[in-house]
Symmetry: C2
Subunit: 228 residues, 2 copies
DNA sequence: CAAGTATTCAAGTAATCGCGCAAATACACA
DNA sequence: TGTGTATTTGCGCGATTACTTGAATACTTG
């Protein structure tokens, strides 16, 4: 026999758990991370996460019924996006909590960095300030679409795959800062390693556009691409 | 064939998903909510959530392997507590996201309030200011242990069950504000209803001590109870 | 209107989860 | 050292979940 407050609590926590369940699969978290960089089609998401299209579609359904993502039919494709900026911020907080509480997270990233020979020198807030003030040359090494969907003002788009061929665009006498999706994104790590090999002074900024926006700072978008 | 970055991502998101999995069961969220009010024994938690002791123990194991709670043997009992204040803040953020994205949450709370005939008049920040400045009589209607583990400075402890018998302690000419665990806790609602029936001017404060602390404000504790 | 393509749906399978029950363990206290 | 109590563990059941494969659906576009 259940009393009214008990029924109420059960219903309420069941709702909260809807979010928890949606966040319980690694691939869904990866999808959310990608979507926090900008809208994507099912195929692109399947590609980037290394799962089948049908599987990606299913995961996206789950995220949609948890109201974390929204979809829109655009021509032949279905474009998925985060349902709200708050979702992106929440994902960041989840990752921060994991970083804080699960020592394995740091072990995994550290061993990956070691394996790549990328010694990390992170200056955190100081680096952010220099990026904000334009003291350094900032490159956004994410895919072009993500740059278009929102990027740090003043940053130039050089997807990591093109970096080797476009080195001559970069001035050797200025410090270079590379960023990508966030603290666990590996593209900026590769970029910095490559730049240093070629004699540049390069640093990685851990923050991505989600953090940037969360601080209340302006992000730039390419207006011509947001039209349907 | 998996490339090194893919392996890295898989391992990383698997870790993040550990938190998601821990948050995927309604009862575990309820346990975390209770624990954010202060430490509790297994038996007490089982009681408060309406599950068997064995079941509660199992859920607590899951939360412990996700490093969200910690346990300590105290005499004959095992006391569980949040592993970090950040966990409490995170739970609040989860609930805020649910409130924002899942309209069902508001429907459920609204229908519960209607059923209780408790018309909600919430003044939010203004009410908080008055509580902080001591303009009102503040009562903490949670169980005594939770009050002892941390409460709003100046609040007096009147567990909701004792309220009817202790009405005469309260001044009729001053406004009364009742609070309990947070926005979804029903005890303050009951308290306000009872007070109004008896001619008091009473209001509910939605925030609990977790929110209070998250704002950087001081919480008071009963020192003599925190000794082992 | 027909053909092609992106996405979703449906069915099957192996694995996991939540829960109840009963037994085992661990520990304080007499 | 024994006894009582709090907690954990093991086991079995039904339900859910993730993933694959193959077919269906809904579009656009020629």
């Amino acid at each position: 026999m259940e009393t009214p407050p008990r029924i109420f609590k059960n219903k309420l926590y069941e709702q909260f758990a809807r979010l928890g369940k949606a966040l319980a699969a690694p691939k869904r978290l990866e999808l959310l991370d990608l979507l926090s960089q900008g809208p994507r089609t099912v195929e692109a998401l399947a590609d980037l996460t290394g799962i089948t299209i049908a599987n990606a579609s299913q995961h996206l359904q789950v995220l949609r019924t948890a109201r974390l993502v929204a979809s829109e039919k655009l021509g032949l494709f279905v474009e998925y996006r985060l349902a709200d900026e708050a979702v992106g911020r929440f994902i960041v907080q989840l990752q921060e909590l994991a970083q804080l509480r699960l020592t394995e997270v740091e072990q995994i990233t550290r061993s990956y960095l070691d394996e790549r020979g990328a010694l990390e020198a992170v200056y955190g807030e100081e680096l952010l300030r220099r990026v904000r003030d334009g003291d350094v040359t900032v490159i956004d090494v994410r895919p072009r679409e993500e740059y278009a969907a929102g990027h740090v003002p003043g940053a130039i788009s050089i997807p990591v795959g093109e970096l080797a061929a476009r080195l001559k665009e970069l001035p050797k006498q200025r410090d270079i800062v590379a960023y990508c999706r966030g603290p666990y994104c590996v593209m900026a790590i590769e970029a910095v390693a490559l730049l240093r090999e070629h004699g540049y002074t390069a640093q990685r900024m851990e923050q991505g556009v989600v953090d940037w926006r969360a601080r209340g700072w302006q992000v730039a978008v390419e207006p011509q691409l947001r039209q349907s």
